[in-house]
């Protein structure tokens, strides 16, 4: 095996992917090869820098992102329209709405007819009352004085 092969094993070892047999081979080689031993040391140093860097996150970005989240009311409104209903449910909902609309419309028309009839009846009654009133004989009123003075 060449140094390149052992260096590949170094990475497998650091990622816990090296079996026992190859570990023995690797460490036997490392005890003899200064170049590969240095390679291992540098790799470990690089990994520790990466591990340190990976923990950093700007706190200001947390604030920025959570400030950017839309307010609850707006989101609920958006959610309502974002909800995906099954097709049959949507069709049933439309049918119910249409049925209710027709029922309401027929009720309104019925009420309108009744109102019209009542209005006609009232007009008839008014005319009858007027006719009756006009057909009454005229009454003459004579003033009677009981005053002897």
């Amino acid at each position: 095996m060449k140094c390149d092969d052992y260096q590949l094993l170094i990475h497998d070892f650091l990622e816990n992917e090296l079996d026992k047999e190859n570990q023995k081979l690797l460490f036997a080689h490392l005890s003899e090869c200064e170049n590969c031993a240095k390679y291992l040391t540098t790799t470990v140093s690089i990994n520790s820098v990466i591990a340190e860097d990976k923990n950093f996150f700007p706190a200001s970005l947390d604030e920025r992102i959570f400030e950017e989240i839309p307010e609850e009311k707006a989101s609920i409104f958006t959610n309502f329209f974002a909800v995906k209903l099954p097709a049959y449910f949507a069709y049933a909902l439309v049918a119910i709405v249409l049925l209710l609309s027709f029922t309401l419309l027929s009720e309104v028309n019925k009420y309108k007819d009744e109102l019209h009839q009542t209005s006609v009846q009232l007009k008839e009654q008014k005319r009858t009352v007027e006719l009756l009133f006009n057909s009454l004989p005229t009454v003459e009123v004579h003033p009677v004085s009981n005053n002897n003075l």
Binding site: D4, Q7, L8, H11, K38, Y39, T42, T43, S45, I46, N47, V49, I50, E52, D53, K54, N55, F56, F57, P58, S60, L61, D62, R64, I65, E68, I69, E72, S75, I76, N79, A82, V83
Partner: protein
């Protein structure tokens, strides 16, 4: 419903914010741009929370979205060379002044060397080391075979270790 969505978002955000942030930061090499991109990515996630079904692959989805944003950012710049020169100015400066500045620590050397890797190689390295993606996931995201990802990653590591060792050697002298 809304509280549930917010809690769910908050959990995903705290679990994946660092891998996403470090991927973007290492790619664009500007903390301001990185923060803008990360914010966009998580806002997109929040908008799509109701439709997210597979929470197991959420990191992959986030990194894919981040990658689209990063490359969209690159496209906005006239070309990658120009971007590299402009955005890396700070890094290159510190790299050029390497022999003059005394506070050269190994951390800075490593960070600089990672930053100096070509974008396409740096991306593979960062996705593996900082974002913790598997070889399969990197292969899917970048669009190259798994074997190629493995071999590229090994050559990147070798190159990086060689350069860092050289710099540390200089440093010790």
């Amino acid at each position: 419903m809304e509280t549930k969505r917010l809690i769910s978002f908050s959990n995903i955000y705290s679990s994946h914010k660092k891998p996403v942030y470090h991927y973007v930061l290492k790619m664009v090499r500007s903390s301001m741009t990185a923060e803008d991109i990360v914010q966009n990515v998580f806002m997109k996630l929040f908008e799509k929370m109701a439709t997210v079904k597979n929470f197991e692959s959420i990191r992959f989805w986030l990194l894919k979205t981040a990658r689209n944003e990063v490359y969209s950012h690159f496209r906005k710049l006239k070309n990658r060379k120009e971007e590299t020169l402009e955005e890396n100015e700070e890094t290159l400066l510190s790299s050029n002044l390497y022999n003059e500045i005394e506070e050269k620590e190994i951390n800075e050397i490593v960070r600089n060397e990672i930053g100096l890797l070509p974008v396409e190689l740096r991306e593979i390295f960062v996705l593996r080391e900082y974002s913790g993606l598997s070889y399969d996931e990197i292969s899917q995201l970048v669009g190259v075979s798994k074997d190629l990802v493995k071999s590229r990653l090994f050559s990147i590591r070798q190159k990086l270790i060689k350069n860092v060792s050289k710099k540390i050697g200089v440093e010790k002298k």
